[in-house]
Structures are given as structure tokens and as C-alpha cells.
Symmetry: C2
Subunit: 409 residues, 2 copies
């Protein structure tokens, strides 16, 4: 099935400068996709630190299990990613394929296999044949290095556009570079998608600090988005820090330089995460859900996601229907502390409900006009505490059904 | 919007004998619906016991709050239900409407207002005007009593067919009658639906026992179904026991007569619950999800509902796609104890995955042929314990999007 570019896609791939110490290559393995590059190889200079966040699925893919076993050391010299086959639920053959690919990349990088990170995306349950992936990897070094855009294209599955983002931080007079790529078209798209993100920086930073910063920033970026509430067997977000910027390494989170670096990293992660929502299967609207006044941040997150995942809310948005009763329903079903009579709901700056009833100022025509926008903000204030969370989602349209139901995988 | 009868609807409304001690009436209030009966009045003989299960929504409707306040006494003499306006999120006016309706029914029944149970279904956030409902109720007694089918029709909103079910139990040589009606077209349907069920029996049974039996049976019937995972502000299931059958009352759950009565009640509740799934918005297939071998029954329930609520699983079923990788995904995302390598998945009796990989016997053609059925069973065995749960759902089709997104409410 040919998918046309999402109406919410950015105009173009951003202009990203190379990150010192990072070499990227792409090639064709003919597994899952023919006639296009679908394997990504990354080689990192010695001393590169890595941190990662992996799916919490109890049925994680073989490469996720590999990363989980080897991220602990905090060092990485290589990365291999294939698109077209997720190498998930593939039994012993899946684990063997992972071993062989890691060994091959380790040989090229001159490192131990444990310093190679892996990710796969595509069909679940189809055994991955490692041989063509290995052949593609071995052939790559003879060719030209890839740009970030080329790398982002190589890891696409049902994505309708390549996703990249960059940011810079000025630290002690040095410009630090953060650049990342991602793929994902829905929190998960069926057989043929999943969320993968790889971010590269030249900042020297100790692995435990990198891990800490990444965990915090993923919580408000990739873990704040949802397309359909489904979680992939393969979700992987890795950050590689080559340490090539001429700065002393950040050794603790308390280092005053940690914050500007964390901000730049967070900016890239949120940018990539929103691009995934913009490419949500069938999406026609980008929706920001701001929950405030909740009992706790965690409670605000549960409520925001209850709204963001509600099929009734999402179909109403697709229908440009100012159906705030469905927001009330989604708040109510979240099971978190809430007081109907203190609840306040607004579409953008238009208050639609407050004090346990429709707002006296409510005007259906004004609310309806707001719903016609391509990007919407739904604000929910619980009025009982200081907890806040912002989630991002898209609408639920016929396109989602067509992509996921109208064809045989 | 005119909805055509669900393809999964039963051929006809069942033949239900009247329940001694129960009188039903219907009438037109012109609130929400014009030109059809949309108010139901029930009057019960003195001594009638009641038990109920209500929505857990934190934004419950005014009638739900009324029932919650008054179910404790365990006695009931009246019931009033209106369709077209949910009287939810309607502020002080909602509570006042409830007070007025209860007072009017109490006068007709010759009881205290607290012995009147109430339910409303329809638009959320629209203040309910009690006057036309009161007028309709007062006019009813002059007319003919309603049949169960007439009563089931009066409480419909987006339902495409009237829902009724009956069962009998032979207890000490006496035939005990259980009959019920329900409405619901989706766990919730947008502004215009919600789950309501009212069951009537002539069995004499003490209120605490009735409550206990109802709680147990709702867990495996109404709480085992899902259409879209959305929970209404108004879900209400009430059982009225008039005690007219010539038997001594069941005073404790240990009474050997409690079990056959509980079975009859459970049968009616499950029948009604499955009719709600059969009328799920846009449904074209009825799907039973049997989870076994889980760590606990509760864990099995979480996994079964993770599968039943997954948009990716539901769209695959709509597409008649034997996409078992999505079942793996849904098991994995449930967050419950699971061991990928012990997981076994079958469509009906066709094993598709086992031992952490695709079944060696897997035949795509056979699995695909199974998916063409109108009623499917997905079996998932975790292989790690004795926990079991069966959930029921329907597929996710373009019809759901059209009903909930393509029109303005």
C-alpha cells in the first residue's frame, strides 16, 4: 500500500551538521524491502558513551534484549539497524541473528560485540535471515558515508516522511551539537512499524549522567506521545555521546553544564516525538493535551493519556466536533482523583466547561470554529492540586482503519 | 443519522414472561427524542429488594449519584429511566431534576423517594429539563403496561436493536423467573449512549445476598466486555427481586438455593452483555478472548482486556487478517507476568504461535480462512499459572469512525 505524505509533516528535513566522531552508512539488505536502503550502520570513535530507553513489553524483540543486556557498560562503538523485519517473537533464530550481526559490526569497528547496539523494525514473528543483513553491512564501508537524512530514510517502515531534529548548546564558549533521527508512525504501527530513535552528540558526558538525563527527557517526549495506545515489542531510543567537543566531561548531574546539554537533548527528543505523532497513521490533526491542577504529576499523566487514548475523543476531533462531554468521560474513566465540580475544560483559550457544568459563556459556534484547526490544544484543569503533564496525540480517522484493517499484512 | 441493524443482532427479541410483582410503563417525554417512547417507569410490589453496580467514573451522572446514595437500604419500589439526555455534568440543575423525578415516582408508588432508582442516558452536559419527563410519567399510569420489548425499546439511544434476555431456575420445585433488558452500543457510545441494564426476578432474596451474587456475575459479564475501552459516566446495572415466587427467602450466600439462582441471573447478564457487544458501534465480528495459564485471574483479565482494547488487534480482525503478531504485542504491553517462550496463541483450534516463535504447523491459508467467520475465538495461554479470564469484544471498522467522527453531535 502506498501512503501519501502526512498532511502534518514538516516542510522539509532539517539541516543537520555532522556530529564529530560519528560515521553513518546505509545499504540494501532486501529483507522486507527491496530496492531501497533499509540497513543503517553507525560507527563511533573510541570513548563514545551510550544510554538507552527500551520498550517495557514483556514480549520484547531479540535486539531489544541484546541492548538491555549490554547497555549497562555505558560504552558503544557501533550500531546496526534493519527495517522490514522486527526480529521479534522469532525464537532461537532471532537470538542467533542478533549474535551474528553484532559480531560482524564489532569486527568492522574493532571492538567487542557488547559495544554494538542493535535495533530492528518490521514484521513480528517472521524469522530474520541475518545473511543478507551481514552482506549489506560488509559492503557499506566501501561506499560513501550517509547523511542524517539518508540514515532516517533507511530506518523507515510505514513512515510517510523521514524524521530528524537538531539542537545546539553553548557550553563554556563551545558549541555542542545534538542531532537525532527517528522512525515511527503511530506508537506502534502493526507489523510494520515501531518507534526507534537514535540521537548523537559530541558532548563529553559520563554514561550514568547521560542515562539520567535521557530518562528524564524521554518521560516528557517519547513517553508523552500516543497514537493508538499500543506499545511495540521493539521501541528503542539510544543516545550516543562521542565526547569530541573540546570540553571536560560532565561527570555528575549537578555539574552546571548538565542543564544546557539536557535542554538541547530534550529539544531534539521532543521534536522527534512530535514528528512521530505528525506521522500517526491516518492523522489529520496534531493534538496537545495539557492537564494541570491534578493531585500529582503522575495522576496528571494518567488523565492526559486517558484523554489522548480515548477513541471517542479522537474520533470527535477527526469530525471537528467540539464534543467536550467525551473529555469529561475520559477524565472520569481515568480513575484518578477528580472533583466533577472543580473540573475546567478549554479548547485553546475557549472555556467550554467549568464548575461541574457547561460554561455559561459557552458558544457552540466559537468552539466549532476552533476544532477546524490543524493543531489543537485541549486544556483540562482538575482544580485540586499542582500536578501537571502534557501529552501529544493525533486524531482517529478512516485512514487509521484503512492502514491497519483494509489490507492483508 | 440512521443506523441499520447490526449484522450480529439476534434474529428477534426473546419471548419473556412477565415477572410477578413488576409493572412496566413507557411514554414520550420529547427530551432528546421526538415521536418515540423514551421514558421507562417501573413499579414494584412492597418487599422488593434491589442491588446495583454503578460506573466507577469520577464524573458520574446525577442519577448514578442518586442510586449510589440510596442503594444501601436494599429496597426499591420504583424505577425511572429516560433516554436522550444523560443528566451528566449538568451541575446543580442535574441534581434538582433527579430530586423532582424521584419525588414524582415515589408519589405514584406510594413510597419514600429513596426507594426509587433512576437512570438517564444520552447527551452529556446538556441540562435535563425534568418537566416533560414528569409529565410523561404522570400520563403513563392511564395507559397499558409495557412488555419487556417495549421497555427495552424505550431506553435505546444509538442501539440498533432492543436487548432482552431471560432464564429460569427450578428451585425446590418452583420455577423462578429472571428477565432483563439492556441498552448500550459500545462500552459507551459518544454523547448518545451508555450501558444500562435492568433485571427483574420473582425470587425472594435478601439484599446483601443479591448484591453479592450480582457483583460476582457482573465481573464475568458486563465487566468482561469492551467495545472501545471507554467508560461511561452513566453505566448502571440494577437487579430487582420482588420475592413473589412462593419460596422462603435466600438469606445467606451459603444457602444451597443461591447457586441455581445465581446461575440463572448470570446467564441473563452474560446474554445481555454479549448483545451489547453485538451492537458495538460499527461491529462486524463478535470476538471472544480466552486467556488461560496466567499468573492470576486478575492478571488474565488485564491481558485479555489489553488484547480486546487494542486498536491494532481490532482493525486486523476487521480486515480478516490472521495477524497474530499484534496479539503478541498486546500481551507484551499489558505489563503482566508473561514469558515469551511459553506463550501459546490459537485462533479457534488453530495454533499459530508457541514456544516463543511461529508454530511449525502454521498455515497462513488455514488461519486466514478462520478469520472470515462472523464469530471468532482468540485463545492465549501464558503457560505460567492457573489464572483465567474470558473477555468479549468486537472489531474496529470504518463504521465506528463514521458513527463517532463523521457527524456533529
Amino acid at each position: 500500500m502506498l501512503l501519501s505524505r502526512s498532511p502534518l509533516a514538516p516542510a522539509q528535513f532539517p539541516d543537520l551538521a555532522p556530529v564529530a566522531g560519528v560515521r553513518l552508512f546505509t545499504g540494501k539488505a532486501g529483507v522486507g524491502y527491496k530496492g531501497r536502503d533499509n540497513v543503517l550502520l553507525g560507527l563511533f570513535d573510541p570513548g563514545t558513551r551510550v544510554a538507552g530507553v527500551l520498550t517495557r513489553s514483556r514480549c520484547a524483540s531479540a535486539p531489544v534484549e541484546w541492548c538491555r543486556a549490554h547497555l549497562g557498560s555505558g560504552s558503544a562503538r557501533g550500531l546496526a539497524v534493519n527495517a522490514g523485519n522486527a526480529n521479534a517473537f522469532a525464537g532461537r533464530q532471532g537470538a542467533l541473528a542478533v549474535d551474528r550481526i553484532a559480531a560482524a559490526v564489532a569486527e568492522l569497528a574493532g571492538c567487542a560485540p557488547k559495544d554494538v547496539m542493535l535495533a530492528s523494525t518490521g514484521v513480528i514473528g517472521e524469522p530474520l535471515d541475518a545473511a543478507p543483513v551481514l552482506a549489506a553491512i560488509k559492503a557499506m564501508l566501501g561506499g560513501e558515508a550517509a547523511t542524517f537524512e539518508g540514515a532516517a530514510n533507511a530506518i523507515r517502515t510505514t513512515d510517510t516522511f523521514a524524521k530528524g531534529a537538531g539542537a545546539r548548546a553553548e557550553i563554556d564558549g563551545v558549541t555542542v551539537n545534538v542531532a537525532g533521527i527517528a522512525k515511527g508512525s503511530g506508537m506502534i504501527a502493526p507489523d510494520m512499524a515501531t518507534l526507534l530513535a537514535f540521537v548523537f552528540t559530541d558532548m563529553p558526558v559520563a554514561a550514568p549522567v547521560l542515562r539520567d538525563i535521557l530518562g528524564g527527557k524521554v518521560a516528557t517526549s517519547f513517553n508523552a506521545i500516543t497514537v493508538d495506545g499500543d506499545t511495540s515489542t521493539s521501541d528503542t531510543c539510544l543516545v550516543f555521546a562521542t565526547g569530541k567537543a573540546p570540553l571536560a566531561p560532565i561527570a555528575t548531574r549537578a555539574d552546571p553544564r548538565a542543564e544546557p546539554f539536557a535542554e538541547a537533548l530534550g529539544e531534539v527528543l521532543l521534536d522527534l516525538a512530535l514528528q512521530v505523532v505528525r506521522d500517526g497513521e491516518g492523522a489529520s490533526k496534531l493534538v496537545t493535551i495539557e492537564v494541570t491542577g491534578a493531585d500529582s504529576d503522575r495522576s496528571a499523566e494518567v488523565i492526559a493519556k486517558s484523554i489522548a487514548n480515548s477513541p471517542l475523543v479522537k474520533t470527535a476531533i477527526a469530525g471537528e466536533d467540539a464534543n467536550w462531554g467525551r473529555i469529561v468521560m475520559a477524565v472520569g474513566k481515568a480513575g484518578e482523583p477528580a472533583d466533577r465540580d472543580r473540573l475546567r475544560i478549554a479548547f485553546g483559550d475557549i472555556v467550554v466547561a467549568e464548575g461541574g457544568a457547561r460554561s455559561p459563556a459557552y458558544d457552540e459556534a466559537i468552539a466549532s470554529a476552533y476544532m477546524k484547526r490543524r493543531e489543537l490544544t485541549i486544556k483540562v484543569d482538575l482544580g485540586i492540586g499542582n500536578g501537571a503533564f502534557t501529552a501529544y496525540t493525533c486524531d482517529l480517522t478512516h485512514g487509521y482503519i484503512s492502514i491497519n484493517g483494509d489490507y492483508r499484512s
